[in-house]
Symmetry: D2
Subunit: 221 residues, 4 copies
């Protein structure tokens, strides 16, 4: 089943009560279209949203540290307790060191959280896949927030990522991000062999978020 992951980032339109409203729209969309939709609000909003919707709620970031003296860090244990069921790791706006990514993947696995590691090119996608997360999400940084869909403007990077992951770690899913907004972008991404998309501004900043989502999911299977 097609996976659509909506990153709320820190937009005004997806923070606090607005974030909750958006999560509810996503839930309806998932039901109506038999899609797997994941919402990714800010950490402070996770518990409220997770208590209100039944679709998976992911964190935008998780630190690979456990219980102890790690003031200001986001632990997998606290996310799990708040109702999250997974996390983005190494998003282009929150890059991590290699050892931290590995520790975050391990922390997710141990806490029963799914992990999506974001990458910026084929080489880093290979590296991320080699550490065995649930998904890698390839997002060429120059296309993020551009409205130019990677699945159409740079299909080769998606295709090569899919092939590379298949070879190195066939159990790891591939998502496709950056510039995805419309149904045709999603369709192109799926045609290239990805399992779904990671998207944000195209939906969050849309005048009518529901309509934007309707347009998007029309490209799903």
């Amino acid at each position: 089943m097609t996976l659509i992951v909506l990153n709320f980032k820190t937009y005004r339109e997806s923070t606090g009560p607005e974030g909750l409203a958006l999560a509810r729209i996503c839930q309806e969309m998932a039901r109506e279209h038999s899609l797997e939709m994941v919402v990714v609000p800010q950490v402070a909003d996770i518990s409220t949203i997770a208590a209100s919707v039944s679709i998976p709620v992911f964190s935008q970031h998780v630190d690979g540290v456990g219980y102890g003296g790690f003031t200001g860090h986001i632990t997998a244990a606290s996310l799990k307790a708040a109702g999250a069921s997974g996390s983005l790791i190494n998003h282009s706006e929150r890059r991590l060191r290699l050892a931290e990514i590995e520790a975050s993947i391990a922390a997710c696995r141990q806490a029963g959280l799914k992990s999506i590691v974001c990458t910026n090119n084929v080489a880093t996608t290979r590296a991320a896949a080699a550490m065995g997360p649930d998904y890698v999400a390839i997002e060429p940084p120059e296309l993020i927030g551009s409205g130019i869909p990677v699945s159409k403007s740079d299909p080769e990077i998606v295709d090569r990522s899919v092939q590379a992951v298949k070879k190195i770690a066939p159990d790891v899913g591939v998502l496709c991000g950056a510039g995805i907004t419309h149904g045709e972008d999603l369709k192109a991404a799926l045609d290239l062999g990805s399992q779904g998309v990671l998207l944000a501004s195209g939906i969050i900043k849309a005048k009518d978020q529901r309509k934007a989502l309707e347009d998007l999911v029309a490209g799903a299977r």
Copy 2:
């Protein structure tokens, strides 16, 4: 009034339901002893705790970024929406760049959150105070979690911090951290001119958290 700030860090004993229970104990303590107590849970726990207690709930960290494309960051707006009323900034376990500290202080101010900037020596205390947060909290790193109270083992650093802040930014309060556990540590801190203490492991890891807090607050005024 003496200010006691309890940093929950990421200890098992202060995460999720355990964090909520501890926050409730702190609330009782504040009422019984007419103290100002602040609890500082993990970000994912803030909304639940803030909905359950009436004492101030602070975040362990805040990023000085606003609405927009800042995936994985902790915004002042999201903290405020979740019920927080302030934040630690630059804790020794989550050090920030100078420009980030200044941006975090400004973001707190704009969102109506109090700010406590942690520092490691007299020079950085001077620097932090010069940026005008609500409080600076001086914590010599070598004493954190040591059980050796800074107010007794290194009174001079507290005294010099208090004097320096008075000179550079008299409106900024001074807290005293690192190794504080007992009532006499708190009393020593207040005698040196600080407005209160920032503490963590001595209480969180105590066999009986309530008893440990009772011992501590006995040193308050």
Copy 3:
């Protein structure tokens, strides 16, 4: 005497042999115009340049760590041994944590190196000055590399920085950076009470570096 600090950054026109040639031009300029000129090449170029010119050679960065297990760090001791006589600290392209800045200033002082801490606004200038470096250099990030001189486009930030430093730490000199290229920019900076300028692209990327420097120093005293 007016101080002119030329940051070589990592431009092709100031790396390796080109950097050495540029340092020699700066030396001639300093002699001809009785100016204090400081060149700031990349670390790998310091020893060669310091062996070839008699004007001060600064590093673009220094870590506040000493002898020991600090692989990949730039120590004050190694800079001193290579012939450097000072360092930039916290440049906008290499921001440091507050505690690191303080440690870097201390390391410079101990090794007999001068320190210039870069800042981005009045609040961080106050903070930097409070730690007692030899100089602070105020550079509003939005003007760096813009060709719009801070001394003319935002004279107030320079004026307020100069006043703030005078009050908090009168021994600390103030430099003015960002967008400085021409003699009139330098003159405006000096008129505002600064001791000199920190500049880069306007000179480095000039078709004729010597001519660009001639134009600049015409504004000196």
Copy 4:
């Protein structure tokens, strides 16, 4: 041929003139024993050492940035111009973000520098190898500087790393680090299938560096 890489770190015994003396000893050792020895001094010492010895001189760190506005960064171009022929990347004392590691490897390749990416466990070794550096160097952090050789205390991590790299990227060499001091440690490392070792304190801090090196190279082939 066995590769021995000596990381000078920032020890007093390997900074400035002491670093040059040590590099000369390494050169003699390489000649006498027909070994490939690489010295890795601090960046500020590279040009002097590279001009004085004919064995390869590597940097302890390189940033994956090119010509431009990257003040305080260590560029591959500047290292090459100073006489370096390679660099460590992501040493445990200077960890990098995943995208930075990839950019550093690419920058080395473009500048004609060899790259050695340091890793901390089998998963990160797989990831590093997937990005195609010349070498990966596996160093369990808890053994660094311990005097307990990884090749003897944790042979399995070396063995599994060698196997993993062989599968994912057979052209990438594997070095073995952490706690290596004596000839038998080196021999054990080679027996496990590694191409050589990365070492530091055991030699640098030895009372008699030459003697320590003699002891080490006795284990080579």
